[in-house]
């Protein structure tokens, strides 16, 4: 009866990171930044996107909500006045969409690079700066040693560190503390946790990142005739609010 509270007190101390255990490579968990998706937060160590660690996102395709999934966290950080650094993005981050997602555009910086080396260098610089709330990087390629450098930079950084990589990278080992594979499943985003502190998670977590377009009941017929006539009652695209669960 008395030994149990003593044990839990010890585990409390360890969990709060006041004691560093030899052989434990990872630092004690810092509280994460809530992702905006309760189902995901429940499975992430720290209860959200981890700070002080590199997070790899491996989307199967572009356009499945791989960046929108970060929307709530990015909106929150930018509105706290912290910067979002987009480094070597594959396309133009589109200002109207970012604004619609609640992101403060005055806290966005987009960095274009000419070589993979420059991209990795810029990501490291951004992580070393105290200004950033989140660093999003799209390195064309990165070796294990280069990723290790970024993981170390992320460990000393107050920023969330997201690295978008090809799904093929899932086969290689990586020093990143959190690795997520993303896939679209019947219009939802299926997140598989390949690696996290405390072991992977076999079952996927389903998210619905905003904005979502409600499927038309009657798909638009694609004919010249249909396209050429006037569209007096064109149905405005209906946007469903994100299915956010506030925990």
């Amino acid at each position: 009866m008395h030994s149990l509270p003593a044990f839990s007190a010890l585990s409390d101390i360890l969990r709060h990171g006041l004691v560093w255990r030899a052989g434990e490579a990872s630092r004690a968990e810092l509280p994460g930044v809530p992702s905006g998706f309760a189902a995901l937060d429940a499975e992430l160590p720290g209860g959200g996107w981890p700070t002080g660690a590199l997070t790899e996102l491996l989307p199967e395709h572009a356009g499945i909500g791989e960046v929108r999934a970060l929307g709530p966290a990015l909106a929150r950080l930018s509105n706290e006045g912290r910067w979002l650094a987009w480094i070597a993005p594959p396309y133009l981050p589109y200002a109207p969409a970012l604004e619609a997602a609640g992101i403060d555009l005055a806290r966005v910086m987009v960095v274009r690079t000419r070589s993979p080396q420059d991209a990795l260098w810029a990501i490291e610089q951004a992580l070393q700066s105290s200004a950033c709330g989140a660093v999003l990087g799209w390195p064309e390629k990165a070796s294990f040693a280069q990723l290790r450098r970024l993981q170390i930079a992320a460990e000393g950084s107050p920023a969330l560190a997201f690295l978008f990589r090809s799904p093929l990278a899932a086969r290689e080992s990586s020093p990143a503390a959190l690795r997520l594979h993303l896939q679209s499943l019947k219009g939802e985003l299926a997140v598989r946790i390949l690696k996290r502190r405390g072991g992977p998670l076999a079952r996927p977590i389903l998210l619905t990142p905003a904005p979502v377009v409600e499927p038309l009941r009657h798909p638009v017929p694609v004919t010249d005739h249909a396209m050429d006539r006037a569209l007096p009652a064109a149905p405005a695209p209906r946007i469903l609010p994100a299915r956010l669960v506030h925990g």
Partner: protein, 451 residues
Amino acid sequence: MAENRHVLDCNAAAFALGVRPRMARAAAAALVPGLRFCERDAEAERAALEGVAGWAGCYTPNVALVARAAGPSGVLLEVSGSLKLFGGLPAITTGLVRGAHEMGFTAGIASAPTAQGAWLLARAGASSPCLALADLPRRLQPLPVEVLDCDARTLATLESVGVRTLGEVLALPRAGLARRFGAALTDELDRALGTRPDPRTFFSPPELFYAGLELPAEVREAGALVFAVQRLITQLGGFLAARDGGIQRFRIELFHKEARTDVEIGLVRPGRDAGHFALLAREKLSSLALREPVRRIALAADEVLAIAHESLDLLDDALKRPGDWHGLIERLRARLGDRAVSGLATYAEHRPEAAWRAAEPGARSPALEFGTRPLWLLQKPKRLQEVGSAPHCEGPLALLAGPERIESGWWDGHDAARDYFVARAPTESLLWVYRERGVERGHWYLHGIFG
């Protein structure tokens, strides 16, 4: 080092072989065959001295130049008002030595209650400071007469009568001294001992910063210039501190045989941190490919601005402070180019490609309402394959929402008449596609991706 027909100074190797300052050039050449003479460049000396004086202004506003036609020159600093601020004389002396070293000079530093006293001690290489006026005679007496500012003839006469130290000069009858050598000698001694006032004209630094440096050898790799640039940047840092100003741009000029390469470095907001400037210069130079070797470098700052002093707000929430984002942007720009880093802004325009702007990071945008917009926009719309008249992108597209008709831009020649749809590809990617209107059989284009 030679001037006219005399040796002015020599290095240790030449000294070991018997070359001495003030020796005739011909005699030195005879003594050491193959001895290399450098002509004294009085203009370069003056510029270097003014550079040091401008930098030393960060310790006190009262800086005077000792510029002499012949012999060594120096910089005098009146530091009695700065002792408390900088933590005492040793701290200032250490700072001066280190700063001079960073600028590529070796400083001989002495301090005394009178300007001329300090100057004579410095010329004699005295290192310990003389703190009290009463100590001055004792400290000056053993100094050799060569340290005096008087002309060569006076020195020769003093030597010929067997007078070798200042103490021996002071022991001579004063009236005779003045009669024999003129008032200049007694005047100098009186100023050194503090028995006669010694007003000096203080140096006023130039409005703009410009400093150059001759490289000892041609440099072919821009990275190798970092060290030399660092010297000039140290000088710039002191100059700005003295002016209580900052700069938003500076320029490194690289002089080739004939042409010149300018390297511009910009800051997001005015600053004066020499360490940060050096970091930016290093990044910029490391990515620079030199077309020609460099012989000489210069550093220029064309506009000195007032800088805002940041006050520490005790109530400021540490998390909400944006941190040093200016510094980050400057570092990124120094290596990747000015245009590589930008912010984003929305713009009131119907055409999607014109509804945004690259802005200076931190700039505020107007609050605007748009329809459903994709997170990624393609730089240029991509023509889609069509099967029949149905759009394909890795298979047939299913149109989920639309059309949103956008017709705009007829006034500037970039008119757009399009019907936009949200489409789903077989890969389950959500795409933003449009079909041209107003032309027969309008084509389909991919314009965005709901990333």
